[in-house]
Symmetry: D3
Subunit: 235 residues, 6 copies
């Protein structure tokens, strides 16, 4: 099986981090490719960033289709351009946000999601509603740390998550904590051990779901919402 993982931001150290973590958990016979676009924002922390990352990400989606991969993982927690990717792709595309929110809804009554800054709380709420899992949404936990800072200071990031997660369990009824950033891959186990609560690392969760989907021979439906777009002139 050949899995194509796209980090939609342009920071290669994040791409490398993701590759290292996924190498540890992939099935032995899985061939793993992790890439990022050449152009676009160095991190994705606004809908503006998501929009700029859109077209370059879709180029990579096309490439994965042309090169015969079995499944694509979109490794940014906002799932930028996910619906467009499903439209242009014939192979399944898994967003790490959608896969993880659905998993979280199965593993506990309610989940809380960590995020970088308070301006992203509405995005987390809206996406939870868009995915149709709002009844399992407890709260969003604001780390007040940029995505690149989290990458640079893992221990500080883990400490903040622990503190916020403990509060979410006590006050918001959270039973599962979702690490709302692809760059936090590999942090879950550590936090979970200290916290005694289920912590989900979206990149890992989505990657294993992607392997399962490829093993099952599944794909997304191409007859409606994700139908291949009409061919037309792009000026």
């Amino acid at each position: 099986m050949r899995v194509f993982v796209i980090n939609p931001n342009t920071t290669e150290s994040v791409t490398d981090h993701i590759r290292r973590e996924l190498e540890k958990i992939k099935q032995p016979d899985t061939e793993l490719t992790v890439v990022n676009p050449e152009h676009g924002p160095v991190s994705i922390e606004s809908v503006y960033d998501e929009t700029l990352a859109g077209a370059p990400t879709l180029e990579l989606v096309r490439r994965a289709n042309e090169e015969g991969y079995d499944v694509i993982v979109l490794a940014c927690f906002s799932d930028p351009a996910l619906d467009a990717a499903k439209e242009v792709s014939d192979i399944p595309v898994i967003g790490i946000e959608e896969a993880t929110l659905h998993m979280a809804a199965m593993l506990g009554h309610k989940f809380s999601i960590t995020t970088a800054f308070s301006n992203r709380v509405p995005t987390r709420e809206l996406h939870t509603r868009l995915r149709g899992v709002e009844s399992a949404y407890a709260s969003t936990l604001v780390m007040n740390m940029s995505v690149l800072d989290m990458d640079a200071n893992p221990e500080e990031a883990k400490a903040r998550i622990q503190e916020l997660a403990r509060k979410a369990v006590q006050e918001d009824g959270a039973e599962v904590i979702v690490l709302g950033c692809a760059g936090l891959t590999g942090y879950a186990e550590d936090i979970e051990r200290k916290l005694g609560v289920v912590v989900l690392d979206p990149t890992s969760v989505a990657f294993k779901i992607a392997e399962a989907i490829a093993d099952l021979g599944l794909r997304h439906s191409k007859i409606g919402r994700f139908a291949t777009p009409p061919v037309k002139e792009i000026k």
Copy 2:
């Protein structure tokens, strides 16, 4: 008052059509600018098209801010890049879809929306949910006509809308019909007269709401969902 209207697709005849219609209804002292991006899809009929239109549209949003306009109207019924536009804009940005769906919810119990092809029905449903007006949603009416065809064959387009709208009133409980395409500007009155039901032309509705917002000195809130994005490197 200076209003900046963006047609996010790259077909100038549509831009001209919109300009002509809005000239007829603008307040006497309103200065009207209607533009389209140079690059991007010639029409917007998929989330893929919306994604490609995103970055060029945001460039125009920046230009309107720099050139001191009072309010921006985004004239494509899918409101592509609307949230990102609100993030990067200090002046209000009105999407024709959001303005029209809220208006429709006031003018009748339920509304139906026309769309080009059946693959867009899920988009209409999702956007209605995103706007938070799903309790007023009756149905989406599939015209089976491309956006450019509607522009080229207005009488055929009107005839199809009439037939679909009549059915929506009888079978879906629709009390208001929303023309789900910016290119249909100016068709509403004709159809309404023949149908005896309220028909909304989104570009006109949003334009007058934009004038009202500018008159009131209102803007969108910049403290959360639409906060100005962090400055960062775009590779």
Copy 3:
């Protein structure tokens, strides 16, 4: 254009206050009439008050229709008798609550509403649900001041709103504050300047929406929910 504004309570000083504020923002060629019924409660602070104000308000709606006005604004934040008014009116009727809640849902992720006393919190919640905008509802802010006290002590009212609004932004995720009383017309700008958040004055917002609706030649749909009632004996 001729706009007919109804203050459904019987306190003329409130009617005069509304007239003064709307004179400042009306289009130059708008002819403005602001009236209140002769009979009914002096303020509207309960569903009981709303019910007593119903029949006298509907008399004024009839009068506006007979006298050839273009649009009616119902200037009480509970929109008393709004649906009945739409039934008996052939010209559009805009409730200040419905127009403002829909506007608030466009200008920010969530809104909070000020109200006089805690017994009105359920009304605010129910009306938000009835208008179909509950996903944008953050909270109701209790002023503990009667409507007539707010009219008599504007500075005290503004100070309380500021304090409550600040808390709503920090704790409830509010991005827009709605002044939930027609008598607060004209207070928004002052509070907004001090607070740095969007503050909506419902009477002003609804009035400009009414002008836009009249300019567009729109009316509410008369084929279902707002159909003209059957003629019958009223004993």
Copy 4:
């Protein structure tokens, strides 16, 4: 126990009909009073009618409180002025719509409601949402018969209900049929026998719930939504 039943319309034959039916099912020691206001519409078939019936109905609610009744039943399926009645009443007030919709939600998965004309379908939908039982709502069945016609032609009314109910069971998933009019009291059993489905007569259902509430010594809560309104001048 003393039960005070208010028919909010001014047609005495309907009041007499209700009295006759309730006499048959009341507990032996229940003292039954059934009245209607002197002034107001002869039937209630629009929100306009509901609004006109409001103030006279509230007068009767006050009288029941003054005369020491134990519980009030509001016998019109639109529950006109119900919230206002609960505000001004210290004894419990039961609306036949609310009591019946909650009963229907217990007796089957989904219910359908009969109504006079198609303009009332939105009211049925809105009230179902207001009562918070929309997940059990299947459909509204339009009889195309005025309320007074139903009273005058019981057999014709029953035949239409049977036909509509059969269709609702087959096509809408209805498991319970609610007769959406107080004047249909006493028709349920007959229809139920012919149809093999549960048919609810709202006036009877609400009356027995009222007796149960009085027996239990319950009342509605007076601390929030139904708090006694502030005393004020009514001009």
Copy 5:
């Protein structure tokens, strides 16, 4: 009328407690039987307990049908096996949770429910959603007392409920308090007097609703959700 009340746990002192309380409020001519299964858990404080109590409870439901009772009341606040009971029963079955939540939704804007331990909060939320009354749900109040402890220490239980209920009124907007345990039968009046808020004892409420249903000759619908199960081999 013959009413059959099932306490689904196997603690006879609770059964006796329920019988004593219901004897006080039953109609004079009601013949009351209160029983519990021989086998199963001594109290019901988890979904595991509910599952174990299921089959023995259904045996008693069959017995009530065979012995010609008019109506069955299931007296455990989790309504264990309620849907299965309605499937196998031709006489109406009333769960004390469903009857009480619907009653609570009529008597106030929002209700809070007491529960034994925090692990049951999700169950209360889920059941409220299942009953379709989630819009009236305020909160669940955790007593941190086992069901058998509540039975053994009524004064301690009442004191805790009072404290929690006071907080729910002030902070959660609760207007009605639901005692979420069949074993608390008879405590409501005392608490209500001290608290000034409406307190519902589910067993009493459901019992009187059951009498009303039997008086009305109603039953649950047997054509869909509660259809009699197909006869089959049970190994």
Copy 6:
């Protein structure tokens, strides 16, 4: 990895069928055990059947925990006793319904579910709501074939599903078809090829998700909804 699959009904041919199908798709190093209880109904087609299957299923859940399995799959589409199983289990338990509904919500805009008889339509609706994925629910498709008949006549079952699925795509907006019965394992590929739409076999989907969960070292949260039940006497 050791996976324990429970067929909650007592028909061994169904158990054998499931084992054969899962052997084909398991990871090479997965040790697969598929069992059914000795006692209980031979098929599960009602809530009554689900209730009877509950206690015996929980015995098997305990056994899997004692014997050191890594993950449990509950292979009946109604997920009988799933919450109770999660309470008593320290290893993850995956219900085939919950896993498949969440997968379906990712692979298309809306899904339809096949079921045996029309009495099960409400169960499908309720479970979809319980799982929190109701916004992706299109319809339930009634096969009018018992579970054992489906097992005995695979070609007839496939033909009926094809016909119903085609209709669901055209009329209900379904983009994914869920085979709502564990016994249909292995039918999906055939139907999918003929239909051109995505068809999900719940047992296969849930099994691969279970492997992914075990690979990730995940478990369900034990701090709230699925907390281990208090130890108590079971008479």
